[in-house]
Amino acid sequence: MKALTFAAGLFTASTALAQTPVLTVYAPDYFTSDWGPGPAIEAAFEAQCGCDLQFKPGDLLPRLLLEGNRTEADVVIGLNTDVTKKARDSGLFAPHGQDTGALTLPIDWTDDVFLPFDWSYVSFVYDTTRLDTPPTSFEALAAAPDDLKVIIQDPRSSISGLALVLWVKAVYGDRSEEIWAGVAPHILTVTKGWSEAYGLFTDGEAPMVLSFTTSPAYHIAAEGDDTKKAAIFDEGHYAFFELVAKVAGTDQPELADAFMAFVLSDTFQKIIPETNWSYPSALPKADWPQVFQDLPAPAKAIFLDEDQSAALRDEAIEEWRRALSQ
């Protein structure tokens, strides 16, 4: 009898599930993890959509390109500007249909397919107990005493590493290789991804690491530690955007549209800063958590759009590789 009740319950539960529409969202692993923004966003959206939002973690673009039109994704969140050209050319994405006037970014955003949901500036983060006067430009870093060491990420395997070489290329153009040759003695080592580099930094292996201007917010808000600061460069900082896009072949177009609108809502935007440790993309500064308002920010945002970055990328990486292989 008990088994029968249980089976009946299971049956009702599964039919109930079958009637709830499912919105499948591909997202990077850090996004969906218990310590990322995913769980709070899932709960907030499900409270209003009458649907089941399912995050599927993993590689975004490689996976989508392998799946092509047969993908089960309705929405993809967590793309970045380095892959938008390839993503756009695939024809797998549909216009987002949102008013980009609501965005509060340091640059004008007019893309009608990829919609930013957060952003930050790429920067070096240093330990104030080990470094009194941080460099204020790449040239100052090159001229710094030899014992100023920094850990960076490889532009061939990491998006922040790629943003770094594009930053140098955008500021210094033809002088980039010369700048890299000057900076090279200060580079302690190069890691595969951000986590390895940041782990080495917090372990004290180097006084400075390539990260984001918003990284210190985590240490201040979560750990009460104000010894981690971003070194602000006078020449400006490369702006890093994370994007969301609607899949053209979605079988839940209304839900996908609702999610795109939800991304720009205050609910979503207020979840971002203290779960993703980055700036929200559509929230006035006055509404940011205090710790984010207080962070030092660069005077100038540098950004290469997808065509500019595609044109410069191979050259920028090769100059970096040559200079650091000496």
Binding site: F55, E67, K149, D154, R156, Y198, Y218
Partner: protein, 505 residues
């Protein structure tokens, strides 16, 4: 006859799991490019570091294993278990531990600074080799130690009663054993180091230390250039299988033949200089391998009890995956414990894991949702990549048992079932326990092909460590690493102990 059929099925399964994904990737890839100058440079560096790393690991493992084979001291069994730990840690954790000792602000430079000696930089080719030796010395030591323990004790007694000098014993008994064992140990480590990427880059200090695997990663994850990735992966596979063939040929000498199948006390060599030398080797290897681990534990132990529930759940998933992988791998390895099997099993670690992942994804995708199969695929891949180690460990004893007892079995007309359960498996117990322990521990620590087969609801422990790090929670990540280390070592110890429950070794 039945054994032969099982061996053929096992061999086909391995070949299918390698060739299937390769074929799927090639079909998708189209025309392959020719390697460019940067690829040749990466190939050169990859080969250089792999040869140096494997050579140094084996060269250092010989005296270490010899010392461990000759000496008896309290805690020896525990030490042998602990020495295996570096091999089973996720690379990121091991690298942090290694740098806590050898890095810029590590213990070594702290000590040198205290003595007024200028600091030593770990970053460079020497750092890459040091890290690879740290990972692989334990494996090499255990493989070679097995070789020493497999020398029939009757031979040693005979040598002693003939009054042979240590040099004569070495030439008559130990050298032939080393000639059979070391080429295989070398090639397994060489192939592991071929696909090194994160370790080589971080310890190498920059793009000078670019390996083929980095180029494959870049092609697949960044450029989505499958053709280039496939070309590079085939180059890597060809190198590994060539090296495997050479090693098989070098290690082709026959074993020691029939012994009386009794555990007898090993030889006692009490000359003071040799006791001191052995002690020195054991102490040096212990310090080298265990200090970085002690740093990992020191940095994380405080956070273990504060770990969130999701980490403990992930630990359970990982245990399940590890046990499934172990069972599968042991069946596979027992069937493949022969020359051909050893060569074939090498392919499991010779194919770039990224390419293997993409290939499996392409194969599975038309029939099932890869998300649902994540843990199954992970268990399967973990078994596949542990196979070369398991086969290497099982083969010497497995072949010895066959040579020693097959005449008895034929004379008595034993059925295959009785042969396996009464004769074969009981005698294979020690290496089987060791191989199972190694597989279980490796599967706990391995990230597998998780990038394309990530289960949204069942994260594994290594994945949670990466997630904690990605969310700035470095302290909790360190705690989770200690948990992983504890569980891996625990599994390893259980199996390994189980295998030598009634032996003095």
């Amino acid at each position: 006859m039945a054994a032969r059929a099982v061996a053929i099925i096992a061999a086909l399964a391995v070949a299918g799991l390698i060739l299937g994904p390769v074929a799927a990737v090639l079909a998708r890839a189209g025309d392959m490019p020719v390697p460019g100058p940067a690829d040749w440079q990466a190939l050169r560096f990859t080969l250089t570091q792999a040869i140096l790393s494997a050579g140094a690991s084996v060269a250092l493992a010989v005296p270490t294993a010899r010392a461990l084979a000759r000496r008896r001291f309290p805690g020896r069994g525990l030490l042998i278990t602990l020495l295996g730990a570096p091999f089973i840690l996720p690379t990121i954790v091991a690298v942090l531990g290694l740098l806590a000792v050898f890095g810029n602000k590590g213990l070594l430079n702290l000590a040198l600074g205290g003595l007024g000696v200028p600091p030593m930089s770990i970053y460079g080719l020497h750092g890459v080799v040091l890290a690879h030796v740290f990972f692989n010395l334990p494996l090499a030591t255990r493989m070679i130690l097995q070789g020493w323990l497999a020398i029939p004790s009757e031979r040693l007694r005979l040598a002693a009663s003939l009054g042979l000098s240590p040099v004569q014993v070495f030439r008559a008994l130990e050298l032939p054993m080393l000639q059979r064992i070391t080429p295989q140990a070398f090639v397994v480590i060489f192939v592991i180091c071929l696909s090194s990427f994160a370790v080589a880059l971080t310890l190498g200090g920059g793009p000078r230390s670019t390996t083929l695997e980095l180029a494959i990663y870049q092609s697949l994850r960044f450029d989505f250039d499958i053709a280039r990735a496939a070309m590079l992966a085939l180059v890597q596979l060809a190198i590994a299988l060539t090296a495997g063939s050479v090693a098989l040929w070098l290690g082709r000498a026959p074993g020691f033949g029939v012994g009386l199948d009794r555990d007898l006390p090993r030889w006692e060599d009490g000359a003071l200089t040799r006791v001191l030398l052995d002690t020195l080797w054991i102490v040096a290897a212990t310090l080298f391998l265990l200090t970085p681990l002690a740093m990992v534990v020191w940095n994380g132990i405080g956070a273990v009890l504060t770990l969130p529930a999701q980490v403990w759940q992930a630990a359970l998933h990982s245990l399940g995956v590890a046990l499934a992988s172990t069972l599968l791998c042991m069946i596979w390895a027992t069937a493949l414990a022969n020359r051909m099997g050893e060569w074939l099993a090498l392919a499991g670690i010779a194919l770039s894991p990224l390419v293997l992942g993409i290939g499996l994804f392409l194969l599975v995708r038309p029939f099932a949702n890869p998300f649902d199969l994540a843990l199954v695929v992970t268990a399967l891949i973990n078994a596949l990549v542990s196979l070369p180690f398991a086969v290497r460990i099982l083969r010497p004893e497995s072949e010895a048992i066959r040579t020693d007892h097959i005449r008895l079995a034929q004379a008595l007309g034993l059925s295959p079932g009785v042969w396996v359960t009464r004769v074969f498996l009981p005698r294979l117990r020690r290496p089987l326990g060791f191989a199972a322990g190694l597989t279980a521990a490796l599967s706990m620590g391995d990230l597998g092909v998780i990038a394309l087969f990530a289960d949204p609801d069942h994260a594994t422990l290594p994945l949670q460590i990466y997630r904690l790090m990605g969310a700035y929670r470095m302290d909790q990540a360190a705690g989770a690493a200690v948990l992983l280390l504890g569980l891996s070592l625990g599994l390893f110890w259980l199996f390994d102990r189980g295998g030598r429950a009634d032996a003095a070794t």
